[in-house]
Symmetry: C2
Subunit: 209 residues, 2 copies
């Protein structure tokens, strides 16, 4: 089956959004924690966190236009910090529920039954129930003129993870943490290891590690 | 276990890269197809494809600095088009092998045993073996000054997928396509559906669809 631009344009808006959201492949499932001016603990599920680079350690995510009432973007801009918290199967439904439009006075943490947890290095809340929690200092917000979204870039200042999670070679097996992945707008998936592959070199077939 | 910036700085470079690459969560597994000035069919695995927006339909990926010999970036800049092809379990090892540094005269397609396929709308090659293939027109290349990478943004001009793949509501079940996901630099994972959740509203617990 082939769809061209005119076929996409002809799709009803919801169907089109659902479809296009499936086309990037699997997405990361993370909760972004931020703190408001009155200390409000804000939380939002985001499926667009990407790795930008290891040195300096940079992660980024895409946020909708700042014109709309976006607490996450407003709060991280003002406080200069945010957290990224991995979503595992046990908290996937609570995580999804953070996408409801709660008012400024209602914390998503208490609304969905998750617990805010604080570190000493910055004021943004972590999700206590998450297995992998990352604190980041805001480094840049890049406008994407093509559709009015922005890319938020943070530098990692702190990583909290279970003691046994970090392997000798630096690998973290996300399947062991039961981290989930997202397909489209609303599909949650569990994951199982297939294999790890050796660093690729021309003329050598990939070796399973 | 807690790691701060000085702990990260103290990690050996490879270990650090492996670790930081795991922290964004699961990554999409895609092959980027481009065409060179002499018609070379170029192919590169990329784990940073993200959804930017549905209207216009935009996808993006992160590429390393253009200073290094990056055929993908050079070719898509010159031709104005590229393709994104989902990686399923059956071609994951071949896909990984495209990350080896092949010379300008050697096509990754033939080197790893994948087949280039062409459409009528643009000159960039698709991967015949992929289940979901997307043709994109280059729209922007945004420099990320913090680490010298760039974000390549394309607008979807064509989508090729199996006849039964697109559900009434626009959803595509990537697990049915056996699309894989990537953890870190070299971990490949198979995926199984957990649930789909209804659009979230305050005061209503999420409903499984």
């Amino acid at each position: 089956m082939k769809l061209t631009q005119s076929d996409l344009d002809a799709l009803p808006q919801r169907q089109r959004a659902a479809f296009i959201n499936c086309l990037s492949g699997y997405k990361s499932a993370n909760l972004i924690g931020t703190v408001g001016p009155e200390g409000q603990a804000n939380l939002a599920i985001v499926s667009s966190v990407v790795h930008l680079g290891a040195n300096p350690p940079l992660l980024a995510f895409i946020s909708r236009p700042p014109s709309v009432d976006r607490h996450t973007l407003e709060y991280l801009t003002n406080s200069g910090y945010f957290t990224i918290n991995h979503v595992h199967a046990g908290i996937a439904e609570a995580a999804h529920q953070t996408s409801a439009r709660y008012g400024r006075d209602e914390s998503e943490f208490s609304a969905v039954g998750l617990t805010a947890e604080y570190g000493a290095l910055h004021p943004a809340p972590y999700v206590a129930q998450s297995m992998i929690k990352i604190g980041l200092a805001l480094k840049d917000i890049k406008p994407i003129e093509l559709n009015g979204t922005v890319m938020v870039i943070g530098e990692i200042v702190e990583v909290l993870l279970p003691d046994n999670a970090l392997a000798e070679d630096g690998f973290v097996d996300l399947a062991e943490m039961d981290t989930v992945t997202i397909g489209g707008l609303d599909g949650y998936y569990r994951v199982e290891p297939l294999f790890r592959l050796s660093y690729a070199k021309p003329g050598l077939p990939p070796r399973r590690l």
